[in-house]
Symmetry: C2
Subunit: 332 residues, 2 copies
């Protein structure tokens, strides 16, 4: 068994689309998002319905931008943080496209990219859409407290990103940004029990996947122009850098975290930064992809991280396992 696979055919990004919430639209990446919402309820009766609408809209928009119809898409891989991936299921009612639902918490977007690339290079699809979403209101209610309660936030908390995004993967040689390899993570649990400190819970999984990736590929971090984790936040990514240095990997100047990038931490009062299934998706499909398209980044290792808790598991005394998947992208 190896965790790392090399894609044995051409698979690249045809296009991306992102819808960001109003708070995300006031952050440092505002200009990179394709669409910024004025409010996060979208005229719906609940945040849950608003999240469904966001994901639906993201998929509609990527079809519009690429001039493809639902007939041109062979499969959608989608997931989100809501129980039973509600947003994905209900968004997919609108699209008569084969659908595989995924759940690896906030690492789900990377599972979608990997499964999509496997399906395309395996000869089973020409085009797939990889979509995820998250919403501050739905996640707070589900995992913590309803917003109406006004619960005080803890120092290590992170702010769930409101947004939905998708990547249209396509076979063939015509794409500037290609997926070249992936490292599929395993579940890692170091016994962290504080469900307000997702960064610490996910850091061991990120480390495990990184070290596996570097060991199996024989690459050093410097092989990549940039390495991104999904949503460790400021505290988690500081911890990760320190622990990786102990293991002999110097990440200074190469590494950043999507959760740290998406908000202006001080001005926006977001605790340790962004999180959620939408977080790494939004940063990847806007900022990172545009950096690769412009040639400023040529080789990127993208490593979304997921904390595998439910509302119930901490109440039953369980710790918080984590998982991280990595995908390597190169400008060709």
């Amino acid at each position: 068994m190896k965790h790392t696979i090399y894609f044995n055919g051409d698979v690249g990004i045809k296009d991306t689309f992102t819808i960001a919430g109003p708070k995300e639209g006031e952050g440092p990446l505002a200009n990179y998002f394709h669409n910024v919402l004025r409010d996060d309820i979208l005229g719906q009766k609940s945040h849950e319905k608003a999240e469904i609408l966001m994901m639906k809209s993201a998929i509609k928009n990527i079809l519009n931008r690429t001039d493809y119809t639902t007939e041109d898409i062979d499969c959608v891989f989608a997931g989100d943080l809501l129980d039973e991936i509600t947003s994905s299921n209900f968004a997919m009612r609108e699209f008569p496209i084969p659908f595989i639902g995924l759940f690896n918490a906030c690492a789900t977007f990377c599972s979608a990219l990997i499964m999509g690339a496997i399906m395309i290079t395996g000869g089973y699809a020409k085009r797939v859409i990889c979509a995820t979403s998250s919403h501050f209101g739905t996640v707070e209610r589900q995992y913590r407290y309803p917003l109406e309660l006004g619960a005080q936030r803890t120092p290590l908390n992170q702010w769930t990103v409101t947004g939905a995004g998708c990547t249209l993967l396509e076979g063939g040689e015509d794409h500037r940004v290609k997926l070249t390899a992936a490292t599929i993570g395993k579940v890692v649990d170091y016994g962290v029990t504080d469900s307000n400190d997702m960064g610490a819970a996910m850091t061991p999984a990120a480390m495990d996947t990184w070290i596996t990736h570097f060991t199996e590929t024989g690459r050093k971090p410097s092989y990549y122009d940039a390495i991104y984790t999904g949503d460790l936040g400021h505290a988690g990514s500081r911890l990760l850098k320190k622990l990786m240095l102990k293991e002999g990997y110097d990440l200074e100047g190469i590494y950043d975290d999507c959760g740290a990038l998406i908000f202006n931490r001080e001005a926006q009062k977001v605790g340790q930064g962004g999180s959620g299934t939408g977080c790494s998706n939004l940063v990847f499909n806007s900022y990172i992809y545009s950096q690769m398209m412009s040639g400023r980044l040529k080789r990127v290792l993208f490593v979304p991280t997921g904390a595998l808790l439910s509302r119930i598991t901490p109440l039953q005394g369980e710790s918080i396992p984590g998982i991280a998947h990595a995908v390597a992208l190169e400008v060709k």
Copy 2:
């Protein structure tokens, strides 16, 4: 876009393993299960922890039976009905194997078979494990009422199967039972809102996937020795047969439903029959697989069905979308 794919390489079943709950162990398929539990709590403090233990045990047992170690397995595809697929995540803490979490409700086991077969025939894995579980106690508490409440059951209710099972898929020519094709379903919603009538909610999805499969492959139902849905139950499968007959497909004598097969309906007081992510898995990995191994069935179309609701969606006035995936298996 076509929903149907034909596996372009050899992928077959190396072995299967099933753990059934005590009630399932009193049903008509008792002798086919590999392991029947004496109680459904397994010495744990909660049904949730018992379900995690069942899934862990199913994976351990398939490794023992096949003499493979975790090193020999390239990926595990797993999912279950608990929020955030808790049982799969926590079971996978014990296995240092690449893990992709899936969720298509009770159709999840079929997603796992399809993704596993794609990964193997795509050249990315030699062996994968496909695992799902469900538990009567955890599902009743999550979707309906805690068992302690003693709520009265409605006429169209189904009984969630307690059990976990897995299939070890392997590349190469040495396997008697091979996966030859699959039809990946789309989300179908006919507006059914009764969350106690899962059969009616999922029937349109099963129909859609069947008709797509027969149309795209040019096959008639009689191409197969047997066709199984996952958990439509008695009422749902009667409805499906009627509706399919209207469309010109006569299924008499060919079709059965795993949820109808797993219990003795009258004697066991299970409403319309079994349901749950463990239902189609248990019937497939015990009864159906053994019928194929013995040569009594040579061509099988296996079509697990899923109802894509959460605890919250009916309360927010949503209907219940369904999905069904199909996989074709042949004895070679």
